[in-house]
Symmetry: C2
Subunit: 212 residues, 2 copies
Amino acid sequence: MTIEKTDKTTPSRYANQRAHYSEEVIYSILDEALFCTISFCVNNEPFAIPTSFVRKDDKIYIHGSVGSHFLRQLTTGTPVCITVMLADELVVAKSAFDHSVNYRSVVVFSKSEIIDDYEMKAEFFKRLTEKVVPGSWDYLRPMKKSEVDKTMLIAFDIKEASAKIRVGMPYAAESDDTNLPLWSGLIPIPQKRLTPVADQFSQDIPLPEHLK
Amino acid sequence: MTIEKTDKTTPSRYANQRAHYSEEVIYSILDEALFCTISFCVNNEPFAIPTSFVRKDDKIYIHGSVGSHFLRQLTTGTPVCITVMLADELVVAKSAFDHSVNYRSVVVFSKSEIIDDYEMKAEFFKRLTEKVVPGSWDYLRPMKKSEVDKTMLIAFDIKEASAKIRVGMPYAAESDDTNLPLWSGLIPIPQKRLTPVADQFSQDIPLPEHLK
C-alpha cells in the first residue's frame, strides 16, 4: 500500500531519489527505531520531546505518566509532527562538500488521540516491552492493573507520512574529484546491543535465553 | 556557567533528579551527538527535520542547500525547538512497568539567525567535517568558494536550554520486585563506528591514519 503524497510530505531536495511513500518502507523504519521525536505548537511556538514508541497497523503509540505536563498538552486533536531517524553510515568523500550520511528517516504529520481503553493500554505495554526487549514479556513479573491505570496512551494516525532514505557510496559533485588519491567510502555507525550488565538484585540469577 | 531555568525548560517529571542546566553538561551532549531535530511552527502547525549540526561557544549551527524549502522557512527570528538524544542503555527491570532507558538529551528553545558571512560559513564547514570525521580536514581536497556560496548557514543561541539525563540501574517501584528471581540490569546500546568500507575510487588508496 502507498500513502498519498501531500505538499507537506514532498521534500524539496532529492524528492525523486530519496522519498518513499510505501507503507512497507515507512513501517519497517518505524518498527526498527526505538525512539521518535514528537513536535507540537502552543501559540505558534514549537515544543518537541524525544520518546519511545510502537507502531501497530497504521498508528503510532506513545505513553507516559498521567502526571506528565508534556503529555497533558497533547489533548485529542493536537497537530503533531513525528520524526524518526536511523543513522546507518557516515559517507566520507574526497571533498568536505560531498560528505553525507546514509540514513533512513520518517516524518509523520498527524493529530493526537487520547486512548482511555484499559485493554488497549495493556496491549501497548506488551508491544513496547517486546519491541525493546524481544522475548521478555512472558518472563517478567506480570503487569498490575494499577500500573496500566497510571499510564496515559496517545495514538497518532499514519495517514500523512513519508520516508527519506540515502544509501550507497559518496558521489562527487565535481567529477574530477574521483581521480584524487584520497580515500573515500563509508563508515558504518550501527547502534549495537552489547553484553547485558546485571544489577545488584540479579548477581546470582542466570541471564535468560532471550537476552543472550 | 549555568543557564537560567525557565518554565519551558523545567520538566514536569524527575525535574530534580534528571534536569541539568550547566553549560558543561549541555555542551558535552551537543558535542557528542551528530544529529539534532529542529522543530518550528507555520500557522500553529508543527514541522520538524533531523539534521547534522555543530556547536561553537553558545550557538548551534546547521547548514543546507540554498535550494532547501525547509531551510528557507527558517528566516531570521523564527522560534525553534531543538532536541538531541543520545540513547546509552536499555534499562531492563523485573517488571515491564519499571523498564526505562538511560539517555542524555538536550532541549533548546531558540530563534533562527541566517548567517551570510563567508568566513563563518567556511569555518562551519571545517568544524562540521572535523566533528563527523575527526582529523580529516587537512587530508581532504580543499574547499572551493563555490561550495561555500551554495550553502546556507543558520545559527541558534543556546540561551534557553536544559539537559535531561538518566543513569544507573532499574529502580523497582514495587520494592517486593527486587526479591523476584528474575534478571534485571542494563543492555548498553552505543552507536559504534565500525571498519570503514572503501568505494570504487579508493580500492588502491591506503586508509589514512585518522580513519584507523
